[in-house]
């Protein structure tokens, strides 16, 4: 092989390697962007409210339902309302108001909000069908069953204690009210949900492809180097034609 042809081949190979590695980087960036887009889309999907029974049932809930915005439509069950003792709002002492809501055949615990005291007029339960939007939160189950205080108030939003006092199973998450229609005044001051989550399934496959494409980009240069190192030696040694079958 004469030197000009050999130089031409090296130049050609180098150009090919540049093109291929740039393509690999572009594909890697594309998959990386896709990974971010998928996470973003999943988060957007999670932040759109869905009917409460699609997110949690009496049987349980998937992990991503915690912190999820939901809508609840039903009737409050006034005699099931319980007060959660010793809750402050902006430094003021008070209680939380938890009211069960009948949603079809299910019972959903709604944390309507904070009131300064048990005899506040805001504890009055709205009648008729109401639409509530809120955030799903776990029950305070870690306090155990023994949460009913001497005055009938609860020390925590315990699922088992509430279910016992209501005589019916409740949906496995609490709706922390953020908005209600029709709007009733006075109504309890909505409280801030404790748990907000942005946990969504991570698109591991796309993330792995991102890494893979970058490694491919490096690999192109590794192969380029191998070829440069080997090509002249084999040129000298190869006794046969370029290809047997061409």
């Amino acid at each position: 092989m004469d030197p000009t042809r050999s130089t031409l081949r090296i130049v050609g190979l180098t150009v090919a390697a540049i093109v291929m590695s740039v393509a690999c980087i572009a594909l890697g960036l594309w998959q990386g962007q896709r990974t971010l887009d998928i996470v973003e889309a999943e988060r957007t999907a999670l932040s759109a409210p869905i009917p409460v029974l699609d997110a949690a049932t009496v049987q349980g809930h998937p992990g991503e339902s915690i912190g999820r915005p939901v809508t609840v439509q039903g009737q409050y069950i006034a005699d099931g309302q319980r007060l959660i003792a010793y809750r402050s709002w902006q430094g003021k002492p008070g209680v939380w108001v938890v009211t069960p809501m009948a949603v079809g055949a299910n019972t959903v615990a709604v944390l309507r909000g904070w009131v300064p005291s048990a005899d506040s007029s805001a504890v009055a339960v709205p009648s008729g069908t109401v639409s509530v939007s809120g955030i799903l939160q776990p029950f305070d189950d870690f306090y155990g069953d023994d949460v009913v205080l001497a005055d009938g108030q609860f020390a925590a939003i315990s699922r088992s204690a509430l279910e016992q006092s209501w005589g019916t199973p409740a949906v496995s998450l609490v709706v922390v009210l953020t908005d209600q229609s029709p709007d009733v005044t006075p109504s309890p001051q909505p409280v801030e949900p404790a748990v907000r989550t942005t946990n969504v399934p991570f698109p591991l496959q796309n993330a792995a492809y991102t890494v893979q494409w970058f490694v491919f980009g490096l690999f192109v240069w590794f192969m380029w180097w191998l070829w440069l190192r080997r090509a002249p030696r084999e040129d000298a040694a190869a006794p046969t034609a370029d290809s047997l079958y061409s």
């Binding site: 496959q205 792995a208 893979q212 192969m223 090509a231 084999e234 046969t240 370029d242 047997l244």
Partner: protein, 116 residues
Amino acid sequence: MKGLSGALLRYRIMAWITGVLLAFMCVFGLPAKYVFEATSGGFLGAVYSIGWMAHGWLYLLYVAAGLDICFRMRFNVLRTLAVLLAGTIPFASFFADHYVAKSVHAREAEITPLTA
């Protein structure tokens, strides 16, 4: 041509591994995802994702082994590209494997009488 049979063996092993995995992913994996929609999570979803990720990395090894044998055989660019791309098309790697093996054996048969 010392090392040619070793390079061929390496190539054939990678061609079979990537070929079988790719065939499996296409024959069982794709219907599981797009027809039965059974891969949105859980065990099948994990197998599906890992299968494709593994194919990506194995394909890298396939390309390494493929380039090695193509360099050694001094295939032209189109032939080399065909061998490399065969690792991404279902069942094509089996044909590529057969073709490469046949070429190597023919080359070896050609050389052996000369050196013997």
